[in-house]
Amino acid sequence: MASRIEILNEGGFRSDGRRQFELRTIEIDLAQQGQADGSAVIAHGLTHVLVSVFGPREARMRSHTMHDRANINVEISLAAFSTGDRRKRSRGDKRILEFASTIKSTFEPVIQTTLYPRSQIDIFVQVVQQDGGLLQACINGTTLALITAGIAMLDFVCAISGGVHSTSPLLDLTNLEENDVPNMTVAVMPKTQKVSLLTMDTRLHVERFEEIFRLAVEAGSTILVEMKAAVLGRSSRLIESVDSSTQPHGLGVENDNS
């Protein structure tokens, strides 16, 4: 579709009123979802993703059991209504399989799997609404869900997308921008500033690449601030409720509900 919308206009605004290095609003909800051991709903602008984590628990299949570490299993489903054109994707879709395997291999070295031998950690990702930056939302959501599930990790994993319009780098792309500019997704581990994931499928000159890549690594820290705040907020509320439950007039709170 030829769109008449300018990606970056001369006033320095993007189509949704942001400037080059402004990220979309991030909304995080770490409330308990059903039976899951940990879950997170994360929204980057209009991209909404729900992640639930089960485990560590006994592996369903014997063959998946590993004697020295935990097995990680990732399943992704895209809601048919998440995109504009209502397309149903089968579970065997190569793109989805790749997506799942990407998330799996991103978290394998981050989760301290050796602490949970002979067990399995299941990560279920449900995509509710898409507007660009799907992979980044999935990874950020998974990080948060794993944290709420209390699974031992080496660090946060913060993902962000970036692109280049002509020569101007942009961060956190919407669907419109993703379709128009060369783009990449970078996942950073903020403590060490090391990159655990980097994908780019569109043609980009090496020199342009370096600029946006370094910028995306930088942007990881900005995401981290948001994520930390959400985790901290949840924990403090949890402590509050635990405290209040010890008061004589309060009812006992079994679960960490906020």
């Binding site: 990606i7 001369e10 949704d16 504009g84 319009h165 980009l204």
Partner: protein, 990 residues
Amino acid sequence: MVEITVLKRSRTEAALTQRKFFKKTAKGKVFKVLRERYLRDDVSCGIDGCKICHDTPLPSYGDKNHSSFPDGHFLLPDTNVFLSQMDLIESPLFGPPIILLQTVMEEVRHRSLPLYNRLKALTRMEDKKVWVFYNEFRSETAIVREEDETPNDRNDRGIRKATQWYAQHVALRSSSIRGQDQNSPTILLLTEDAANRFKAEKLGLSALSVRKYVEGMKDSPQLLDLLAAEGSDEIEPTRVATGRQVLYPEYLSTGILVAGVKAGSLHQGHFNANQYNYLEGNVSVPGFNKPILLIGRENMNRAVQGDVVVVEVFDEKEWKAPADEVVDQESTLKDDDAEESEGEGDAEKSGQLREKEAKMVKVEKIASLRSLERLPTGRIVGVIKRNWRAYVCHIESTSLTSSNSTSLSIQTVFATPVSRLLPRIRLRTRQAPTLLNQKILVTIDRWDATSRYPEGHFVRALGRAETKEAEQESLLLEFEVPYRPFGKAILDCLPQQGEQWVVPPKTESSKEWKDREDLRGLNICSIDPPGCQDIDDALHARVLPNGNVEAGVHIADVSHFVHPDTPMDNEAAARGTTVYLVDKRIDMLPALLGTNLCSLRPFVERLAFSAIWELSPEADIVNVRFTKSVIASKAAFTYEEAQIRKDDPHLQDDLTQSIRLLNTLAQKLKAKRMAAGALNLASPEVKIHLDSAESSDPIDVEQKEMRETNSLVEEFMLLANISVARKIEEVFPQTAVLRRHMPPPKTNFEKLQDLLEKRKGFKLDVSSSGVLAKSLDLCVDPDLPAFNTLVRIMATRCMLSAEYFCSGSVGKNTFGHYGLASSIYTHFTSPIRRYADVLAHRQLSAAIGYSPLHPSLHSKAHVERILEVVNKRHRLAQMASRASVEFYVGLALKARGERGGGTGVTEEAFVIRTFRNGIGIFVSKLGIEGLVTFKKDMLFDAENYTMTVAGMVISVFDKVVVRIEVEKDRNTHRGKVKMTLVSPIDSKGM
């Protein structure tokens, strides 16, 4: 490092920041689209001295020169002002600072991309004070469309809201300036919509119409001139597109068309577009002796140059004369939009365009009173066969949505064909930005009745415009010259020895020598232009003991190598002819044959087909015989060398004698031909000097020189062709391959006769070729030596072109060749480069009993089919050569202009046509034609072929001086020759 932040947006804002809508694609699929926007408080107002905003280029108090606003003011125009009054705003006299709202920018972009690009250029201009205010992103001014509100009303409300905000914002600033009690400048809403003005005034805002505003300005008289006509009226708000409008009448069904043509109520013919006026075309049909004129888009009804169409002719009282105005598609349609859904669905805009075009068409109504020029007029009701192919085009840069080279999205753009005969093509491509500045190949796919332009697809890129490779290839494609390499199957048809092939030694058993005469001993030589590699003819002459002269023409024996119905033969038939460009030759036959085995090079034995005459000293044919032979040419001369040799009295060798003998005979032959009424025609031929073989940069252009020896070769070739024609027609009366030149219909000369009579007082008698030749000789102006040549060129253009035909297909009385004044003619002498000659060779070979005739040459239908292709190829090849010369002339002009300090080249020229707004020019020295156009209509007298420019009368045949510049079209990047008058008056800026 830059600052990276997260924009927080609270959930409660969602109503204002999220937008959900449904979008229908061209295919009818419905998409749900969800968008959000982030509202902010740091969008700058742009006014200097503002305490709150930074980045402020607009002057503090705006403009104080307007009579109504002594305290200064800023203009805030709405969308329609830009849509209709762009010329006014672009004027350097229009100086007040403008606040351009994002809403307005987007609406303009939505309505017309070219206008939007102009608007963007405006914001970048140094001397304009324009500030773009992103009102949709500023939290105070962002609005949401309400239910039951049209997008237009929403935008108007947004504009008013922004005006209101500005007024408050400016007031706030003024009050904050301590101690000064100054009135704040006015924010003036400029709109043509009375309702909008009324609403604005209710809100306490100032609003004016453009006319009212301009009237109060300092330079109002000049600016009022620029005001577009619509400015005075109230224009209606844009209607929402309600579906696509049908722009063209539907075609009739094939059955009705065929029946109509059979019954004579409809006429069938090829559509020809008018290169001067894109709204005009014509169709030559058998039923009328003049072409049927088609005026206007609807009447041309989607026909493209070369299509076979069916026309309905109007009543005679509706017949019109062709327009005498130059109408350029690019300038008329420059603001039209490539994107389909907008431009055409929109009734108002297409109405505007139609009106504009109607104006162009209307002009000729007055002129059409003259009966002489009135032509049968009609409209196209159907298309029998499309003749669409791939066209060489340029992308128009203003039709691009985004020229960002990293952009990956599909864009709809306009591709303008190089040929002025074709309409611009709408193209959807993902590579638009990279294709800018390139020559590209585009194929037309379809042209629907609802679409103003045909739609096409990208085939491939040819390279950067103006590079020689790209220009050369585009030229070949444009004239459909098959320039691809020969396939493998053709290679297998060549002799296995390749370059090493030689005539085998003469033995009894040798296949090659069977029935061949051994003419190796004769003093045969060839005379060709310098650098000629494909020598296909050679000559000899000697005095016979009986006092008569034996003269021989020896033609390369191509039919020995090219056998009928082989892949090589088929390919050669499809190519039809070798094409000569200035710097390249596209061979009809593989180079091994053309430049080696069949080329009659000196000092090597070559197979030939010889025509040998016994001529009396008076050059009457006593006897002629044809034979296959083996020759060994003794020399290959250029025309110049041969001439020098002939003129050098010290040289008395046999070869020189032979040339002298041939020359005397040729002169006699020519005299006889002229006496019989042959025409001495002229066509502008120029020669390009190339810098060196490698760089092939043209240095200069000059006219070709004609020597005696040119004429020598020509006469003998004519003689050979005529003799062969007689022979093959005698033996194969049904299928002989002949060439004829039909006498032109008298009506073709009417205009030239009228012109000559009125302007120069000459009478042109066209009743026969002989009489014409005589009266042409009389058209001499002693003051203008080039005048006669010019008249000859113009006369040549009135004639039909010569064509190949099959003797059995037409009546014997129409065999004649008008130009040569010969009753029969064929082409025999250049089989390397013309396919018709190959056929003539085969027929002659059969006629003398050397070889049997291939069955296909016995079939009339087959010969006709082949000759149709050959005729077409021949015509296109000529056009390609001419275009190639033109391109190089352009380059040479550019080079010469640059050497001369970039002011262009001035040359003498003749006026050959007059239009209402321009004159047609012919520069004989460069052999090019051009147009001098004026911006305004001039006083034009069509009866007497004169026009008055700034008090000077210019008429046809006048000698003028023009300045020739090569300039690049900014939009399409196609180089074009631009001419302006230098004398009698300087038309620069007119």
